[in-house]
């Protein structure tokens, strides 16, 4: 696949999109782990929801 004289513009565009999408995925995944860990800490310290269900309950 020859990309011609503007190869650097094409490759930079695709690399940048890949990097930003990867950053979004990692940010959301790390945020999820952080929230779950914080909820577990709170529940371990005896704080529970009024419904009595655990805050990490997803069922």
């Amino acid at each position: 696949m020859a990309l011609g004289p503007y190869q650097s513009f094409i490759v930079t565009s695709y690399a940048l999109v890949g990097a930003v999408v990867a950053l979004l995925i990692v940010w959301i995944a790390v945020d999820y782990r952080r929230q779950k860990a914080r909820l577990r800490e709170l529940e371990a310290s005896g704080i529970t929801r009024r419904s009595g269900r655990t805050a990490t309950d997803m069922s």
Binding site: Y6, I28, L39, R53
Partner: protein
């Protein structure tokens, strides 16, 4: 399950846990197919291989506007129907929309340099998309600045609806003003002017990026619901009598 059932955050979390792996898988498959088709697409007779930038620039540009549209519907949900997940949906969508807008601007700029001879021109299309990007950043700053979530939700919803005025300006800027940016070539009266060799990979990439947005949005909404549960529990903790 009806739409009203999703007003319950716990039911929403349950649904999200079930659909997210499937959505992520479908997104990955479509992205691989779209990238392969983009790589195999022929060179344009005028633009040469730089036409390949279109396959990532256009989906990002469409999503930049689409996400603000979704946020506008969510803003109505906050202000009119007071749907419990409306503000969660808007707040979770904003950083993703900002990322797509940033990518539309930068990939457009990288496409513009070899084709137009310049990275940037203060014409109506480019400037209105830059304004959209700044509005995303402003909205994210507003959510962070106002501590009370319900006040932040109302203020953000109003700002989102005001900002929606920019969407038709972006769409029709190439028709209303004389711009460097080309007019619409896919969504236009009389059908697409793109050859099938370019249209098919473009549509596959557009569907793949749309699925990517839905996947990331649902995951970010799940995080936001958990963040709000933490806030509630912390307030309960602060209100507990100390011995």
């Amino acid at each position: 399950m009806t739409l009203i059932d999703l007003a319950n955050p716990t039911r929403f979390l349950s649904l999200t846990a079930k659909v997210l792996p499937w959505l992520a898988g479908a997104t990955a498959v479509l992205l691989i197919v779209g990238l392969y088709q983009s790589a195999m697409a022929p060179d344009d007779y005028q633009q040469g291989a730089t036409v390949k930038i279109m396959f990532i620039h256009v989906p990002n540009a469409w999503l930049a506007m689409f996400v603000w549209g979704i946020m506008s519907v969510a803003a109505l949900g906050t202000l009119v129907w007071r749907h419990p997940l409306a503000d969660v949906a808007a707040k979770a969508a904003a950083p993703i929309g900002a990322a797509f807008t940033f990518l539309a601007l930068v990939t457009g700029s990288l496409w513009g340099r070899p084709m137009w001879g310049t990275y940037w021109e203060w014409d109506a299309r480019l400037t209105s998309v830059l304004i959209l990007f700044l509005m995303y950043l402003g909205l994210m700053a507003l959510w962070r600045a106002v501590e009370d979530p319900s006040r932040a939700a109302r203020a953000a919803a109003i700002l989102t609806l005001v900002g929606a005025i920019n969407l038709p300006i972006i769409k029709f800027s190439v028709d209303w003003w004389n711009t460097l940016h080309q007019p619409a070539s896919v969504m236009r009266m009389g059908g697409s002017s793109l050859d099938r060799a370019f249209l098919v990979p473009l549509l596959v990439m557009a569907i793949a990026f749309s699925l990517l947005f839905i996947t990331l949005h649902l995951a970010a909404m799940r995080n936001e619901i958990l963040r709000r549960r933490i806030r509630t529990l912390q307030m309960m903790q602060a209100g507990r009598p100390t011995v």
